[in-house]
């Protein structure tokens, strides 16, 4: 039986300028990315533009030698999320997209999760989604504003009519909860992190 190619195999073929390989990566990753982009932008045309851009950027950077083992899924997810939230921010502020002091920082490839970490997470995603339902609604709302709307802590406080101190506490509690559950579910408690 022929095994389906891994993302690593496909990326190697993309580096060799194989457009069909990029198409296979697209088939696997685009639906998840588009779901996220639609949540951020609420506009299918704009979401699909960014979807195209992230795959084109992968194609354009592909000839460079692989110096890292960063997961391509993580790379595209974070790149797409940051481009979309930048656009959402600029719409809110009625100015053209650009780099501002509240932008997400450029991600070093060394900081991105590796393919085996992503695979382990994906195996347990449904369990983690159920676990996240335990988060108090106010914490979840604050977290969603940061993730999907690109709001800063100060903006989240203003939006929710809360003090900055309470907002910071809610966000940090939500992320602590997620971090601890991820460590427990992925079995990384003992790791030096």
């Amino acid at each position: 039986m022929t095994q389906a190619p891994t993302a690593k195999d496909l990326l190697a073929r993309v580096r060799a300028r194989d457009a069909d390989a990029l198409g296979e990566l697209y088939d696997g990753l685009a639906p998840g990315l588009l779901g996220m982009l639609l949540r951020i932008l609420g506009d299918r045309g704009a979401a699909e533009e960014i979807l195209d851009e992230v795959f084109l950027s992968l194609w354009n950077e592909a000839p460079e030698p692989a110096r890292h083992r960063a997961s391509v899924a993580a790379r595209l997810a974070i790149r797409a999320r940051n481009a979309a939230t930048r656009q959402a921010r600029s719409r809110r502020m009625a100015r053209p997209p650009g780099r501002g002091d509240c932008d997400s920082p450029p991600m070093s490839l060394a900081c991105l999760p590796q393919p085996d970490e992503i695979a382990a997470l994906e195996e347990r995603r449904e369990l983690l989604k159920k676990v996240m339902k335990q988060l108090p609604a106010a914490q979840r709302e604050a977290l969603d504003l940061a993730v999907f709307d690109g709001y800063t802590e100060v903006e989240i406080a203003e939006k929710l009519g809360e003090t900055l101190g309470r907002t910071k506490t809610a966000l940090r509690a939500a992320l602590r909860f997620l971090r601890h559950r991820l460590r427990a579910v992925l079995g990384t408690w003992a790791a030096n992190i």
Binding site: L56, W59, I118, R179, I193
Partner: protein
């Protein structure tokens, strides 16, 4: 200075949600290649990745993929 105090804010840093002073604290460590910060940032990036994909997947229109592949074959 150690980076224990930054443990709570790596995800917010990656999301671009921190106020400039907190962001600068993380950047100071990252710029000097603090191995503890880099390890925590990788863990934080995994959390951010998880959060990005909590929405229901949406299949792109088939013509979109065809257009994209045509564009890159012309390059």
């Amino acid at each position: 200075m150690g980076c224990q105090h930054l443990e709570e804010i790596y995800e917010l840093y990656l999301l671009g949600a921190l106020a400039p002073d907190d962001r600068a604290k993380v950047e100071e460590h990252v710029e000097r290649g603090c191995p503890n910060c880099l390890e925590h940032l990788r863990e934080a990036a995994l959390a951010v990745y998880f959060l990005c994909f909590t929405e229901r997947p949406v299949r792109p229109r088939p013509q979109r993929k065809a257009q994209l592949l045509r564009r890159l074959r012309k390059k």
